[in-house]
């Protein structure tokens, strides 16, 4: 694979997968701070 291919692969994968990992970590941290207990969606 050419250098351009490796660079594109690194950029696209870090954008999509890195972005997802960052967002999931934000979501989990914020949810934890909301009520201090594990989240069980739709349950009272």
């Amino acid at each position: 694979m050419t250098a351009a291919g490796w660079i594109t692969m690194a950029l696209v994968c870090s954008y999509v997968w890195g972005g997802l990992a960052l967002l999931v970590s934000i979501a989990m941290r914020k949810e934890r701070f909301k009520d201090g207990s594990p989240v069980r969606p739709w349950e009272p």
Binding site: A4, M9, Y15, L20, A27, P44
Partner: protein
């Protein structure tokens, strides 16, 4: 919640459409606009859907009526009907995945003649049977209520993600797999000036994230008041595209490792040709191929089932909003799904027609969501409904521009598709309503459905069912 939403978004389009579209549109070149449209189409529409569902606590018809007034309920009805018509043939697709999973487990695949099993099965009574079983499973899950959907997602989504990762590791460790990576990621910067590549990237984002279908709106009805919408919308968009990327690497590495000589023919074989004719042959050529083939079709089945469940829930929710008891609504949806799915199961021509018509219909649905927000007032919508209680991250003014951009993108895409169809088929052929891929068949079906929605608008807007209580008050 995230697993349920991801289950809705991740469908067969991620696994069988993305690799094919990426490969036939320049690989690395395609990935650039694909990444851009994630933020300028999918995420804004998902934000709108989450906000509308959480604010209205009703399905698409009720949400449009609540947001912009009862005389616009027909827009929500269009969104709901579009997703429901897709459900009618998507149960057929789910049935195909079920059939191929059993065939892979039983060792029937790939068979002496590669396409023989597909030709015997597609359009036969067996396709009706597998469609009915798939629909039955989805209806059974939805009958268990939101807890039932949550339980199914808790099992299916982690399994699907693990399967995709396992298959990807197998694919990239095959000898010659780097040819697939090179094909997928090597960019041709001159290709970025090609409008076709940009439009294909927009279409892929529109069709495989589930943005603008009304499905995210339906699940958002059951959110707790304090549940976040902004981060969830981003996670959903990025999570969906992450699975697409994994699937792209998995499929193309396998293709280029096993049959580099026929790569062009394989990726050009269409969704069903690639998945049901070529994939069994490719897996049969690798060590422990039968096991990996079964895992591939299990992943495909779970991806299809979780999306089908969300479509059944949407149709059920619309009837519940009209005042129909949930049990009766599910029965009606199941009966309609079975009756309307049979033509698509028996005729590939009918299937292709419906896939074509309602695929374009989804672009209109996305446009309706953007127009509803424009009518309500983009800034007012952002401040009141997007940045609502529980939102972890405040959305800034860029959202206002993004909604305008979605509107423009939808119009450009529809005009482009119109001009493409006319130039490829010519005026006379493209207006024939009995040709599966014609403009005439789309316009006729759109006119009938839109006409009915507008004619019955007053009745549609009469929402006699109870507003869903917020999840934290249930």
């Amino acid at each position: 919640m995230l697993l349920v939403m991801l289950g809705m978004a991740v469908g067969t389009g991620n696994i069988w459409r993305f690799p094919r579209i990426a490969a036939t549109n320049g690989g690395g070149t395609f990935l650039v606009p694909w990444a851009v449209f994630l933020l300028t189409w999918s995420v804004p529409l998902l934000l709108i859907e989450f906000a509308m569902g959480k604010a209205a606590r009703r399905g698409p018809v009720g949400a449009f009526a609540t947001l912009i007034g009862e005389r616009w309920a027909w827009m929500g009805a269009w969104v709901a009907l579009c997703a429901t018509f897709i459900m009618f043939y998507y149960s057929v697709v789910t049935g195909w995945c079920l059939r191929y999973l059993t065939a892979a487990v039983a060792g029937e695949l790939p068979g002496a003649v590669p396409s023989a099993i597909w030709e015997r099965y597609a359009g036969s009574g067996w396709a009706v049977l597998t469609m009915a079983i798939s629909l039955g499973i989805a209806v059974w899950v939805v009958a268990g209520g939101v807890r039932g959907i949550e339980r199914a997602a808790r099992v299916m989504m982690p399994t699907l993600l693990i399967l995709v990762v396992v298959l990807e590791i197998r694919a990239v460790t095959l000898p010659g797999a780097e040819r697939g990576l090179a094909f997928l990621f090597t960019p041709d910067l001159s290709g970025l000036g090609n409008s076709h590549v940009w439009l294909q990237a927009l279409t892929q984002n529109a069709w495989d994230t589930g943005a603008g279908w009304g499905l995210a709106l339906t699940y958002a009805i059951y959110m707790r008041t304090r549940e976040d919408t902004t981060v969830n919308a981003f996670v959903l968009g990025f999570g969906n595209n992450s699975v697409s990327l994994l699937a792209g690497i998995m499929v193309l590495c396998t293709v280029f490792s096993i049959r580099p000589d026929a790569a062009g023919e394989i990726v050009g074989a269409g969704n069903t040709g690639l998945t049901f004719i070529w994939v069994p042959q490719l897996f049969a050529a690798i060590p422990a191929g039968r096991l990996f083939m079964a895992l591939f079709f299990l992943a495909l089945l779970f991806a299809a089932l979780t999306s089908l469940i969300s479509m059944v829930e949407l149709a059920t929710r619309v009837l519940v909003d009209r005042g129909v008891a949930r049990g009766k609504a599910i029965t009606w949806v199941a009966a309609a799904g079975l009756a309307m799915g049979i033509p698509s199961a028996l005729s590939m021509g009918f299937f292709d027609n419906q896939d074509n018509v309602w695929g374009v219909g989804l672009l209109v649905s996305g446009l309706f969501f953007a127009l509803a927000v424009l009518r309500f007032g983009v800034d007012r919508f952002r401040q009141r409904h997007v940045n609502s209680a529980g939102s972890d991250v405040a959305i800034g003014r860029w959202f206002n521009a993004a909604v305008w951009l979605v509107t423009i993108e939808a119009i450009v895409l529809l005009v482009w598709w119109l001009s493409q169809t006319l130039s490829e088929q010519g005026w006379a052929a493209s207006l024939d309503p009995f040709v599966p891929w014609s403009l005439g068949t789309i316009l006729l079906q759109f006119a009938v459905v839109l006409g009915l929605c507008i004619a019955f608008n007053r009745r549609l807007a009469r929402l006699e069912g109870p507003v869903e209580p917020a999840g934290d008050r249930a």
